[in-house]
Amino acid sequence: MRRLLTMALLSASFRVLPSKAQAPGPIAAQTYQLSNGLTVVLAEHHTAQVVAVDVWYDVGSRNERPGHTGMAHLFEHLMFQGSAHVGKGEHARLVERAGGEESGQTEDDITRFHETLPSNQLNLGLWLEADRMRSLAITDTTFGEQREAVKEERRLGLDNQAYTGAFLDGLYAVYDSATCFGYAHTIVGSMADLDLAGTAEAADFFRRYYAPSNARLVVVGDFDTVEAKRLIAAYFGDIPRGEVPAPIVCASDSAPGTRRKAVTDRLAALPAIARYYRIPGHDQADTPALELLSIILGQGQDSRLARRLGHEARVTVSAQSGIFTTRRGPQVFGVFAVASRGVTADSLDALLAAEIARAAGEGATEAELTRARNIHRASVVTDRQRAYDIAESLQHAATFHGSIEAVNTGLGRYESVTVEDLRRVAQRYLSAENVLVLTVLPGGTS
């Protein structure tokens, strides 16, 4: 160990990086509302002959109640199982025939559905979204099939990869289920809850959350705004408005002191550590500094964890950090690391804690801040090319920052972060009082 640390010190020299900023090209978009409450955002973008149709419903796993978890995700599956004019499984087939792509995804706060199509098939994308919003078919058969599909997804996905299930479950153990149930259960939910759920509950879920007044339709790409408005009015205009869903309450209490949890993972060959810190909601002022700090700590091969703990000290085989779920309510800053062979979970955790303490003590250098800003800026700019990426940026701005205008002003919040901000947020949030430490050990049948 002593030899490794010496090596780490010897190679710690670090080059100062260029620091030139250039604003990303602006996105021109307009937004309006249909009389039934559907919010529409249109952004013409004629670079490529494609359109993206992107619908976000303001519902996610956070809307679920105790005993009814997993419903938001199961419902996302049901949205592909047919509606009044679209047969079972036909949604994907129609998009494939047009040469397009489609997807659906459930998060904590929202559920998204999207099609990217050649621009001469804008009508198809709008019609497919309108048809399932107005007339989703929910039958005992499709409900039962999709419930099994969700279980299979869990078996083949999370339960079949070392660490993923344990790390993800840990994210939802940070907040107290008594005061913040919405963020204290996983998206995939409890299989026992799903087994008790039926079509009546699904129909109620649809009425409650899948109304136009609870959705935002974003269309980006090579279309004519007048024609798009005409089609949207024709396809979506007479879908009835829904009731306003109950507000979500998440009382993020003050730091409860260091908490520890240990689980076993039968697929894991090596011990691993996850450290989860409570941080505020996405729109809060400290988010940019925390995001840049997560890049400095654990994103990329030249991040601190990869360089110092991985490459130099060789105590981890992989290490990363990030804010893995975007929420309006309180979020989680996560640091994950898998130990190298021969390194115990306890010694890895002590080294991780020391790295994090270093961020709060010495802080970061200007060069590290520049690197993090560069990486963040490049990802923001890169996401302004594909129609779907632009649509997602607009949805994000409207949902998490309250206005589509934030798509053009958001980067400024990151450019003004200072090294002092980084140290301040590290001290404030990445403290021993504010952490849940999860130890993952090989073995068992978890």
């Binding site: 990086l17 260029p18 250039q22 990303p24 090209g25 307009q30 937004t31 309006y32 509302q33 009389s35 409450g37 670079t47 490529a48 002959q49 494609v50 303001d58 004019h85 087939r93 494939e96 025939r97 047009a98 040469g99 397009g100 990217t116 199509l117 050649p118 621009s119 001469n120 098939q121 009508n123 019609w127 007044s213 935002r216 090579d222 408005k229 005409r230 024709a234 396809y235 205009g237 007479d238 697929l267 060959a269 990329g300 091969q301 021969g342 690197r371 560069n374 990486i375 800026r377 490049a378 700019v381 302004r384 090319q385 594909r386 409207a398 309250g402 206005s403 589509i404 090989p442 073995g443």
Partner: protein, 691 residues
């Protein structure tokens, strides 16, 4: 929620909200409207004095830049016997160049949020960099360094060689990949498009091979630098000139042998004993990259097996339930390309499915295509095209590929309108020419003992092993029994092996063979830190037949224990083992064929096998982890030098297949035979002799 709605209303214009008239809502999916014309920026071109062509697609919409350098240094230029050199060169370019080590190069690009990569295809080697346009100078510097001043460091070469060998072994355990190799070789003969990397070729590559390949083929003459994004032509020229101006030379243009002319249909059956399904591949050579029938052929290929509405998806999938995803493809290298259709079908349906594919293939070239079907195919193909050219990175890559293939500058701009103009008659004519009905190469990978006879009813069949060696129908007869052992090779000895995980030492295996009153005892102690700790004792009688196996230890923290007694007909006992689903315990009482080996004993007895360069053994092996007898094949796949910590040895390389994992054993050619290396296909684990 209400907050979001309120803000949206404040931010927005007035809703247009014309109320719906019921007649306006379509009851069926609305069809496509007319295509809008492509909106690609013009291509600006310049030529450097050294022959490097520069193409700029200028777009200032976002401050982004993508550089694609295309060099005529593809796999066709691999020296014979060293297939894999071009891929190895591409892999090493970004692992250290100029005054940067691999890590420093990675940091330089990562720290500006960019990416840098190199890859190779049949004709071309491609280097691509993506950055914010403020980093234009850095992008040119890095592309210049990796192109002109790669380090080809020995350490990086060995890391890449290990990865490439493991990837290749993984590939060779996939029946579809084995079939694709046999098809390419059959179609192209001695033309280099038919060659593929081999483990022997990869192990033979030395640093000097990389240096001479780089010196000969990485040259500006005939190379192409495509830049897309936020840069002007004068600045692009200036950066290209300062980066590449002093570079000189033109890569040699060797004459390749012409691919063979196929005048009749041939069938090759790749025998894979015990395979539950068959892979069918049918291919023929087509045309060079600039052929004007490409788009009509693409439509024909889509009608046959592109997507879920295709003719084969309907007949093989919906109608017969044989195959879910038949596929067709047209490879389009610079030289002669190929058309290929493939399906993965149950063994018992192999001949019927093959017959159906040939029938559907012939129909496309003989019967008129119904108008709705033609339109659907054109729509799907034209529709997906613009999705692939939305970013500067995609645009640069698409322009570079089109230009490297010798296509006109208008190719991307005109692609959709030309595709939409393809007529039914053009499709039939193109299919008749390029989806040949009379001179195909058919490759079937499957269990020959179950499908050979049926395939011979469709025409003559050539039989080969998965290694490509010729077989006769007699080889298909399952002949398993006691292996004829050379007992003089079973002498008391102790061997130490080091366990390497991803190339790093992770444990040891010590084996010991003793003579006993009854016959022989073999003891194996394996330790992989934190993972496996296991002791195996095997008793053999005087003929080295199985008598008793005891294994105790821990795997992933779980106790494991196996106790088995063998007689000539039966194995009995109990086992508690680890499986991917967790620990499992079961009683064993299984009838076995005479001569069955315990899977733990194979390694012990290998030195007593009668080795030769063409040796092949069919074995019955009892796998205690699976609690079943498996048919396995051990085949010598090559002879060559193997370097391990214990020294360099000339070895037989033999592959054991038929179990859950393919395992390669390396046994010295010199007697007494000694096992010096074990590698598990598809897993980063190997065992090497320590002393």
């Amino acid at each position: 929620m209400s907050r979001v709605l309120r803000l949206a209303v404040l931010a927005g214009c007035v809703a247009s909200g014309a109320p719906l008239s019921a007649q306006e809502y379509p009851a069926t999916a609305p069809g496509p409207t007319p295509l809008t014309p492509a909106n690609l920026p013009p291509l600006q071109e310049a030529m450097l004095a050294n022959g490097l062509r520069l193409i700029l697609i200028e777009s200032h919409e976002q401050p982004l830049l993508s550089l694609v350098l295309t060099l005529p240094a593809g796999t066709v230029y691999d020296p014979a016997g060293k297939e894999g050199v071009a891929e190895m060169v591409a892999g090493l370019l970004t692992r250290g160049a100029g005054d940067r080590s691999a890590d420093e190069l990675n940091a330089a690009i990562e720290n500006v949020g960019g990416s840098l990569s190199a890859s190779t295809g049949p004709d071309f080697l491609t280097i691509q960099a993506d950055v914010l346009s403020t980093e234009a100078a850095l992008a040119f510097e890095l592309v210049g360094d990796v192109t002109l001043r790669p380090a080809f460091a020995l350490g990086e070469l060995e890391v890449l060689r290990r990865q490439a060998t493991a990837d290749l072994q993984n590939e060779l355990s996939e029946p579809a990949a084995v079939g694709a190799r046999v098809l390419a070789l059959g179609l192209y003969g001695t033309h280099p498009y038919g060659r593929r990397a081999t483990p022997q070729g990869i192990s033979a590559i030395a640093r000097t091979d990389l240096l001479s390949f780089h010196a000969a083929h990485v040259r500006p003459g005939g190379s192409l630098l495509v830049i897309a994004g936020d840069l002007t032509l004068p600045r692009a020229k200036q950066l290209a000139e300062s980066t590449f101006g002093k570079w000189a030379g033109t890569a040699p243009a060797p004459l390749f042998p012409k691919p063979p002319v196929h005048t009749r249909t041939e069938t090759i059956l790749v025998h894979r004993p015990g395979a539950p399904r068959s892979i069918i591949l049918i291919g023929n050579l087509t045309f060079t990259s600039t052929d004007t029938t490409y788009l009509a052929t693409l439509v024909a290929s889509h009608l046959l097996a592109g997507g879920k509405d295709s003719r084969l998806a309907r007949s093989l999938g919906h109608q017969h339930r044989w195959a879910d995803n038949p596929e067709s493809s047209i490879t389009r290298p610079r030289g002669e390309g190929a058309f290929e259709v493939s399906a993965d079908v149950p063994t018992e349906a192999t001949d019927s499915a093959l017959h159906e594919i040939l029938l559907q293939r012939r129909r496309i070239g003989t019967e008129p295509v119904p108008a709705p079907e033609l339109e659907a195919a054109r729509n799907a193909l034209a529709g997906s095209f613009p999705l692939g050219i939305q970013t500067v990175s995609q645009l640069a890559a698409a322009v570079a590929e089109a230009r490297a293939l010798g296509l006109p500058a208008t190719d991307l701009r005109m692609y959709r309108s030309r595709l939409s103009a393809v007529s039914a008659l053009q499709v039939v004519k193109a299919a008749r020419r390029s989806l040949r009905a009379d001179s195909n190469l058919i490759v079937v990978v499957g269990d020959g003992s179950r499908i050979y006879a049926a395939l011979t009813h469709l025409g003559p069949v050539r039989l080969v092993s998965t290694e490509g060696n010729p077989l006769t129908p007699a080889d298909l007869v399952v002949r398993k029994g006691p292996v004829d052992l050379d007992l003089s090779q079973l002498q008391p000895r102790t061997d130490s092996l080091i366990v390497l995980l991803q190339g790093r030492a992770a444990g040891t295996e010590v084996t010991k063979l003793e003579k006993t009153a009854m016959g022989y005892r073999y003891i194996d102690e394996s330790r992989i830190t934190g993972f496996v700790q296991q002791t195996t004792e095997i008793d053999l009688d005087a003929r080295a037949a199985m008598r008793r196996v005891t294994q105790t230890g821990k795997m992933q923290g779980q106790d494991t224990r196996i106790e088995l007694a063998y007689d000539d007909r039966r194995v009995t006992g109990s086992a508690r083992v680890m499986s991917p689903q967790g620990p499992k315990a079961f009683a064993v009482d299984t009838l076995i064929p005479p001569g069955t080996l315990d899977d733990n004993a194979v390694q012990a007895l290998l030195p007593a096998f009668r080795w030769s360069a063409s040796a092949r053994w069919e074995l019955w092996v009892f796998s205690s982890g699976e609690n079943r007898v498996e048919q396995m094949t051990l085949v010598v796949t090559g002879v060559g030098k193997v370097s391990v910590p214990a020294g360099e040895f000339e070895c037989y390389q033999a592959e054991l297949s038929g179990g859950t994992q393919r395992v390669a054993f390396y046994v010295t050619t010199a007697k007494p035979h000694r096992l010096v290396r074990i590698a598990i296909a598809g897993a980063p684990i190997e065992f090497v002799a320590a002393k």
